[in-house]
């Protein structure tokens, strides 16, 4: 068992097999190859992509299906290769999880990156941030249609 000291979760203990390898890192973080996917009861359904080598680095994520129920998944050839998938079809036992990284630069108006979703093969521990080749989605898609402040005004 290994452990890392994280800002968000304190001490995190994990087995090697829980580590998800991102062979290509992430744009802007090309040297970050090893992550854990952490869920905490109080923040469900959010998940956290926690770097193993840089404990202060973690990304808040949400399942794509919750962010955009009609989202059309696509995986270009080079991203299939990074996930050790054949050019077509799915290997048996494959478990593919799709997440959108969330940005809270404006805390009241979080956005989701639907231009570059994260695809993770839970069965073999591989991940990739797959940048779409069409122009259909934004890297900063508002997560909610009204801001939190507006909502509070309406409810009170």
């Amino acid at each position: 068992m290994q452990s890392i000291e994280t800002a968000r979760f304190g001490t995190v203990r994990f087995h090697d097999q829980e580590v998800i390898e991102f062979p290509a890192g992430l744009p802007g973080f090309e040297q970050e190859h090893s992550f854990l996917l952490i869920e905490a009861a109080e923040s469900v359904p959010l998940k956290f992509l926690q770097s193993v080598s840089s404990p202060q680095l973690s990304f808040v994520c949400a399942p794509i299906a919750l962010v955009s129920p009609s989202y059309e998944l696509m995986l270009p050839r080079q991203d299939r290769d990074l996930l050790a998938m054949p050019p077509e079809g799915a290997p048996s036992g494959m478990i593919l999880e799709w997440l959108a990284i969330l940005c809270f630069a404006r805390p009241e108006e979080p956005t989701a990156n639907l231009l570059g979703p994260v695809a993770i093969r839970r069965d073999v521990g591989l991940g990739v941030q797959s940048i779409r080749e069409d122009a259909r989605y934004s890297a900063r898609q508002p997560l909610f249609s009204t801001t939190i402040a507006e909502e509070q005004t309406v409810c009170s």
Binding site: A7, P27, V60, P110, T111, L115, G116
Partner: protein, 82 residues
């Protein structure tokens, strides 16, 4: 913005050390060759957009903002299963 028209096989220079070649034009796709010093970053625009968003997303997030977001996501209708 400088706008230039080129045919396949033509090219242009940027500064002293960057050369751009239009290699092939196939339907609505153009194949471009770029010669530049190793330290010059060349990024497809959509990758640059994700890079910038990742850098912003990596900043620490206040607990209340996370709480609001997770609450609202929990309230959203479940995805339809086809």
């Amino acid at each position: 913005m400088l706008v230039i028209r080129r045919r396949a096989g033509e090219g242009f220079l940027i500064g002293d050390s960057i050369e751009v070649d239009i290699l092939e034009i196939d339907g609505n796709q153009v194949k471009i060759g770029i010669r530049a010093p190793r330290e010059t970053s060349i990024l497809r625009r959509e990758i640059a957009a994700t890079r910038d968003t990742n850098l912003d997303s990596a900043q620490s997030v206040e607990a209340t903002a996370l709480e609001h977001a997770s609450k609202r996501l929990r309230l959203s209708p479940p995805p339809k299963k086809d």
